[in-house]
């Protein structure tokens, strides 16, 4: 298959269309405006619909209507816009609607900046909106993986009837890399007989809803959602591991930060250090087993994030206090240099090789 050079944001659009998504509702915001621009150009060519919503709030509610009507549908934004979508995402989770939401993170809080950051980890993995729900959260580290995960995201969304968030950052959105559309769609996706197409077309009248005024009913519904998330945890963890066995220190990072960490590890290995890496690809479900495999005599796990420390909480939960944890982060849109990570590792290991 031929590879094509694409900017991350445009690759998101191309991947969605390749996955059969013909409906996009979005709003411009730096650094992901190329996503709606691409969709506005390409969707009419496949007979789809691009709607530039009046706000990110309106966009996620259009997603709700389209998803409830049985279509594959996507929206995208960056951190401040994703914050706006939380109400709608909670409604999608409660009504069990499949959809893909792309977050190209930027520095915050508030209006923040337009440079990349990873400050939405909590928002993405802890639900983000009101109530007890989770999203499947996938974190690509390069544009090829972005394409793969967007395409798989639509299948996972349909399989579990749940929203899927692709957590990228401004760097992945803007960089250009060669990609191929190689994801093989699943064959086991259920029929969407719950979707609204007019009751004449279905076996019953369909209602898309997240309201359950009887508390007993809502508790039952919550148990149903939790059972779903348990299945997701059982089946959908994704992680990349490198040299964890026998490592003196393990670096853990996701997305763009993980690529910088890999450069740092290469430098450290040249100097004789034994450093491993755990790169979560699914942030929910978090691949905690990978951390459980770290040997007891490992001297530490260094979490590196473009934030003041969010994923590190899940790392600590996974380690259960077995191994000391360390953190190195940049925030405000600053991107760490490999040298910073090298220095931090040397500081932790005290010069021991």
């Amino acid at each position: 298959m031929t590879k094509v050079l694409m900017k991350g944001n445009e690759a998101v659009g191309a991947a969605a269309i390749a996955a059969g998504c013909h409906y996009f509702f979005g709003y411009p915001i730096t650094p992901q405006s190329e996503v709606p621009e691409y969709m506005s150009r390409e969707l009419p060519k496949v007979g789809g619909a691009y709607v530039q919503a009046e706000s990110e709030v309106a966009a996620i509610n259009m997603v709700y209507g389209a998803a409830g009507s049985g279509a594959r549908v996507m929206t995208s934004s960056s951190s401040p816009g994703i914050a706006l979508k939380q109400e709608g995402i909670s409604y999608c989770a409660g009504a069990e609607l499949p959809c893909v939401i792309v977050d190209m993170m930027r520095g915050g809080p508030g209006l923040g900046t337009i440079q990349p950051a990873q400050g939405d980890y909590f928002l993405a993995t802890r639900g983000g909106g009101n109530g007890d729900y989770r999203l499947i959260v996938l974190a690509p580290a390069d544009v090829q993986e972005l394409v793969d995960l967007v395409m798989e995201g639509f299948d996972l969304a349909d399989l579990y009837r749940t929203p899927v968030m692709i957590l990228g950052d401004g760097m992945i959105g803007q960089m250009m890399e060669p990609v191929e559309f190689r994801y093989q769609p699943r064959a086991d996706l259920p029929e969407k007989d719950w979707a609204t197409r007019g009751k004449g077309k279905g076996k019953q009248r369909n209602v898309i809803n997240s309201l359950y005024l009887q508390a007993e009913e809502l508790e039952k519904h919550n148990h149903k959602l939790q059972a779903k998330y348990a299945k997701i945890r059982e089946n959908e963890k994704k992680v990349e591991e490198y040299n964890v066995e026998g490592a003196d220190l393990v670096i853990t990072a996701y997305g763009t930060t993980s690529r910088i960490a890999k450069t740092a590890i290469a430098k450290l290995e040249k100097e004789g250090y034994k450093v491993g890496m755990i790169r979560p690809i699914s942030l929910y479900p978090f691949p905690n087993e990978a951390y459980e495999k770290i040997g007891d005599d490992c001297k530490g796990v260094l979490t590196v994030e473009m934030s003041t420390g969010q994923m590190i909480d899940d790392v600590k939960i996974s380690l259960q206090g077995r191994i000391p944890t360390y953190f190195h982060g940049r925030s405000g849109g600053m991107v760490p240099e490999p040298e910073e990570i090298v220095e931090k590792v040397k500081e932790i290991l005290g010069g021991d090789k």
Binding site: V51, A53, E54, N61, M62, G65, S69, G70, G88
Partner: protein, 248 residues
């Protein structure tokens, strides 16, 4: 012997939770009757609001979506873009449409989205216990305007039909009332015309229905209808503000 009035198949068998004399019951019935008469029951998809009529998805005998407060026009946009051949409507109250959802209704009209909105204006927030609405009249006492609505700090009530009629994409805009049988029959005609505008692919349509809230107005159902006539209609004039040109 012929039946000249019976319950429409457009309503489910579930008895409504609405208060005695609440005009939601009348308006639901009109919408359901028109859908049945236009043979839309198998095809229609409706969007329920947040408000007293949040449970409308239990009463309309068609596929339904429950939307977040104010977002029904966005949800309807998503539905209609995926199913352009289906009949799509939203049913919204004054908090839903004229407060939190003002951006959504304005932009749906602006884009000319081809669905129809039934806007129930009863000058108050019913479900949450009778607070002031953007449509509450000056001087009207509510639980959050206990001294009467003060124009100086909260402005005059908003006239949504007039506002939306200025938008080109809104092809049918009419204000009706349901306080008398005569007005109810006129309201039904307006709803039917609005639905026709959608079926003919002409664009967005809205019927604003002046309604009562006996419970939160502190009036009997019969007194409430009189208040609608004496106090609401003078401020919110009935009539058509926009309709497509008749093609010869």
């Amino acid at each position: 012997m012929a039946i000249v009035f019976e319950k429409t198949k457009g309503l489910t068998d579930k008895p409504t939770h609405y208060c005695p004399g609440c005009t939601h019951g009348i308006i639901h019935r009109l919408v359901a009757e028109v859908m049945e008469e236009m043979d839309l029951l198998d095809n229609a998809i409706g969007v329920a609001p947040v408000g007293c009529s949040v449970l409308a998805y239990d009463y309309f005998n068609v596929d339904m979506h429950e939307a977040a407060h104010g977002r029904a026009p966005a949800v309807a946009t998503g539905i209609k873009r995926v199913h352009p051949e289906n009949f799509v409507f939203t049913y919204q109250g004054d908090g839903d449409l004229a407060s939190i959802g003002t951006a959504e209704i304005v932009h749906a009209a602006h884009r000319g989205e081809k669905f129809t909105t039934i806007f129930v204006n009863n000058a108050i927030y019913g479900m949450t216990g009778g607070q002031m609405a953007p449509t509450t009249l000056v001087g009207q006492k509510t639980t959050t305007s206990p001294y009467g609505r003060d124009e100086a700090t909260t402005g005059k009530p908003i006239k949504m039909s007039e506002l939306l009629a200025t938008i080109d994409g809104a092809k049918f805009v009419e204000r009706v009332a349901v306080n008398t049988p005569a007005n109810i029959r006129k309201a039904k005609k307006a709803i039917k015309e609005a639905f026709k505008v959608q079926l003919e692919g002409k664009g967005f349509g809205i019927v604003e229905v002046l309604s009562t809230c006996p419970t939160n107005w502190g009036l009997t159902p019969v007194e409430a209808m009189k208040w609608l006539e004496k106090d609401m209609i003078p401020y919110y004039p009935l009539g058509n503000f926009k309709k497509p040109e008749e093609v010869e």
